[in-house]
């Protein structure tokens, strides 16, 4: 199945993309995309934040967004909504590289992480090239 077809089907299943506008205190969860192949921020990359239901294991979408010119996406989640659990960040890497006229080995990147202490800040960046990527927990 082509990635375009997969995206079309996903659009039918998931809500329309709506950039979130979070007022108030900054999100306790942040991300930062860096294009390490070109030494630039990974800007204009679509991403989704999901949380897993602990009973059903189903994923619920919390936020959809797009990275800004710094490769960041403020307003991922509010402090009130940031409960302990398993989350995942989905990065639309194929679309990102296609917009640069390149292919990528990874059609998308999902980073699944466990949040235990919601008093802390969590920074989950993605450092990406066409044939590698890395992530770490920062604060």
């Amino acid at each position: 199945m082509s990635l375009k077809r997969l995206q079309t089907l996903k659009d039918h299943i998931l809500p329309d993309h709506k950039p979130t506008a979070m007022a108030g205190s900054p999100s306790p969860l942040t991300t930062h995309v860096l294009n390490t192949a070109m030494g630039v921020p990974g800007s204009n990359m679509i991403l989704f934040l999901h949380r897993q239901d602990p009973c059903t294991n189903a994923w619920t979408q919390i936020t959809t967004g797009i990275t800004n010119e710094d490769g960041r996406c403020p307003g991922l989640i509010t402090k009130e909504n940031f409960t302990p659990g398993v989350y995942k960040l989905y990065f639309e890497t194929a679309g990102y590289w296609a917009s640069l006229g390149e292919t990528c080995f990874y059609p998308y990147v999902e980073i699944v992480f466990t949040i235990t202490n919601t008093e802390q800040k969590y920074h989950i960046p993605l450092l990406l090239s066409r044939f590698s990527y890395s992530t770490y927990r920062g604060s």
Binding site: M1, L3, L6, L9, K10, V86, A94, T103, F105, Y106, P107, Y108, V109, E110, I111, V112, F113, T114, F131, S132, Y133, S134, T135, Y136, R137
Partner: protein
Amino acid sequence: NSSPPLSIHVLNTGGGIPAIKMDVSLHRLSSELIIWNMLGVGLTDENGCCLGMINREDFTPGMYKVRFETSSYWESLCLTSIHPYIEVVFTIRRPEQRLHLNLLISGTSYYTYIES
């Protein structure tokens, strides 16, 4: 050429050692439905390597993922990790000669790269 087309190598960078006895599995995205079909399972050996989850004839173009059961691995070392599992999704557009998928893990980070 009967050598396996896909080899996996996992390193525990937190401990500076190969990641031994980690459960891994290989899946391919079905073209009819949006489901993942498991193709094979494996266990990393004393070098952190895993071969033979798929043979050359079956490694056709498509979207694949390797799932690493990192939670169980860290638990066996009485350690925790922020990542309950790691899945690396990749596209094969033409049959590669040989693909090495490398994963370097610590309790708070991971890095993956492909050699072909």
